[in-house]
């Protein structure tokens, strides 16, 4: 039988899943219940069906979903090992997430007015902010969770996508908007109003992502040095002001420079993360043989450290490489896309994935100050998984040629 290269990755993925699941089953042998078992089987079926369905219906990119499948498999197995309850829940979220993925993929393909709804994106963003402030509850120092009908979610996860669409709609219709001399300043003002609101919510990580997406897209699409300079000076000014005004910003910087004197209080999280990564060494302790339970938020913000402890820094580096590949495919999709609006959306989403991974991994290994964020597709959490798949669906849609009026092309 000839084995075609295009089937190798999915086979590797299956081998990985089967081996790691059998190990988890052994680990939980004494209290192996039906749910645990079903989750394992569920994961394999989920990966198999979603990949083969996608292959059938999408003529676009074949890589991104595969890369993401590997990511969420690693994540689910780690979460499953930490707590089988959370593992079952995470699988449910993945199911919903993949549903949302297909939904957003079809919606983006079928509806063609995305570039004309700039006010909607603005409204959604401010609406979500308002909702957060009114209904939000404070969790771990940040007010960024909203609880509706027993389901809590982070509105900022959706706001990120609204921001990308807003910027795409703006730069797509740049000629129209630039009749107003101040349009670029207004956009900058809007973006910074988001960032300011996030600062108030103490959601520093998301604020950084917003800033990164804006700066990246502005660099590509805005011709005018002074705008870029203004953006950078605003960032420096805002950062300094934030450091001086907000204690929570100061704490992040102090514990980044040297967390060891504060090992029992404000430096606890980061030092526990470093202990885990150090303990894991190159290949890890082996699944079920480490102590990820010592890390706070081991299945969430610090899942990278948990994975590094039990599966080794090599797996950690593997995850970083998967993100590089995902971002690369996203940028490639943008370069191949000849409709400017979808090009910008693809870029924005790829930037978002890349930045978010960089910020939380960098924080967990103390390359940059720690800010609470989830690792897309890997961390536990409904809002994070669903919104990441929503964005991925849009990216998948953007990877297909959108045949439109040629007037916009160059």
């Amino acid at each position: 039988m000839g084995s075609s290269i295009s089937k190798i990755p999915i086979r590797l993925l299956f081998i990985f899943e089967i081996l790691s699941l059998s190990l988890i089953f052994m680990y939980r042998w004494d209290n192996l219940d039906f749910n645990t078992f079903a989750t394992g089987i569920g994961l394999i079926l989920l990966v198999y069906f979603s990949n083969s369905v996608l292959r059938r219906i999408s003529s676009g990119d074949h890589y991104i979903f595969l890369i993401v499948s590997m990511m969420f498999s690693i994540g689910l197995i780690m979460i499953f090992r930490i707590s089988s309850d959370l593992g079952v829940k995470q699988l449910l979220w993945l199911l919903i997430g993949i549903g949302v993925f297909f939904l957003s993929y079809f919606t983006i393909k079928k509806i063609d007015v995305w570039d004309k709804m700039i006010t909607l994106y603005l409204g959604v963003a401010y609406g979500l902010f308002a909702m957060t402030f009114i209904l939000g509850s404070r969790l771990r120092g940040a007010i960024n969770w909203v609880n509706i009908g027993g389901v809590s979610f982070q509105p900022a996860e959706v706001t990120k996508i609204a921001l990308i669409f807003f910027l795409a709609a703006y730069y797509f219709n740049l000629e129209k908007y630039s009749k107003n001399k101040y349009s670029e300043w207004i956009v900058m003002g809007i973006v910074y109003s988001y960032i300011g609101l996030l600062f108030l919510q103490r959601d520093l990580g998301t604020a950084l992502i917003f800033f990164g997406i804006y700066t990246g897209l502005q660099y590509i699409y805005c011709s005018g040095r002074r705008y870029e300079l203004a953006n950078l000076s605003l960032a420096v000014l805002g950062g300094t002001l934030g450091y001086v005004l907000f204690d929570h910003v100061k704490v992040r910087v102090t514990t980044w420079i040297n967390p060891w004197p504060y090992i029992n209080d404000k430096g606890y999280q980061i030092t526990q993360s470093l202990f885990a990564i150090a303990e894991g060494s190159y290949f890890g302790t082996g699944l079920g043989r480490g102590n990820p339970a010592f890390i706070p938020l081991s299945y969430n913000d610090f899942i990278f450290s948990s994975i590094s402890e039990e599966m080794g820094v090599f797996t950690g580096i593997g995850i970083i490489m998967l993100f590089v590949l995902l971002v690369y495919r996203g940028f490639k999709i943008a370069l191949l896309q000849n409709h400017k609006f979808y090009r910008i959306v693809a870029l924005g989403i790829s930037l978002m994935f890349g930045l978010q991974a960089f910020i939380i991994i960098g924080g967990a290994i103390k390359v940059i100050p720690l800010t609470g964020l989830t690792l897309p597709f890997i961390s536990y959490g409904g809002s994070s998984i669903v919104s990441s798949f929503l964005a991925l669906g849009i990216l998948q849609g953007a990877s297909e040629k959108v045949v439109k009026e040629d007037e916009y092309n160059e």
Binding site: S6, L19, Y63, M70, M321, L325, K401
Partner: protein, 143 residues
């Protein structure tokens, strides 16, 4: 027992994850190479994805597409594949108003397009993977 397995598996996991990454890189690389290398005159062509030294019979690296092209085991085809699973006249690719279409010539083992069995005449797009027998061909069209 669990400990021993866990320790053995951790190496296996790292190997699998890296193999996964490198296969994807290789696929992407093949993609870029086919798109990037033969710029210039070639407008449309097929690229053989199997490593040439792994094929027990002679094949070219790329085949330029003109108006019409046939693939099969017999020597009167434009692309000859001496594979027992390939029919004498296996499939046909033809040009119609600047678009290429693929059609299976009722071959006994069928033609796969992007992993799906080809049933009807289909429009080819850049990056599509055609499979006949063990041979995989990538379709590239610079419009």
């Amino acid at each position: 027992m669990f400990d021993i397995l866990s320790v053995i598996f951790k190496y296996v996991f790292v190997i699998i994850i890296y193999l996964f990454i490198f296969t994807i890189i290789r696929m992407i690389y093949l993609d870029i190479k086919t798109i990037g290398s033969t710029t210039g005159d070639l407008k449309a062509y097929l690229k053989v994805l199997n490593p040439l030294d792994s094929i027990p019979y002679k094949m070219e690296d790329t085949y330029v597409l003109e108006d019409e092209l046939t693939v099969g085991r017999s020597s009167d085809n434009s692309i000859v594949i001496r594979d027992p699973y390939v029919s004498k006249h296996h499939l046909k690719i033809s040009l119609d108003e600047s678009n290429y279409f693929i059609e299976d010539l009722k071959s006994s083992n069928g033609t796969m397009l992007n992993g799906n069995k080809l049933e009807d005449v289909s429009l080819l797009k850049t990056g599509d993977i055609i499979k006949a027998g063990d041979i995989e061909l990538m379709f590239i069209h610079k419009g």
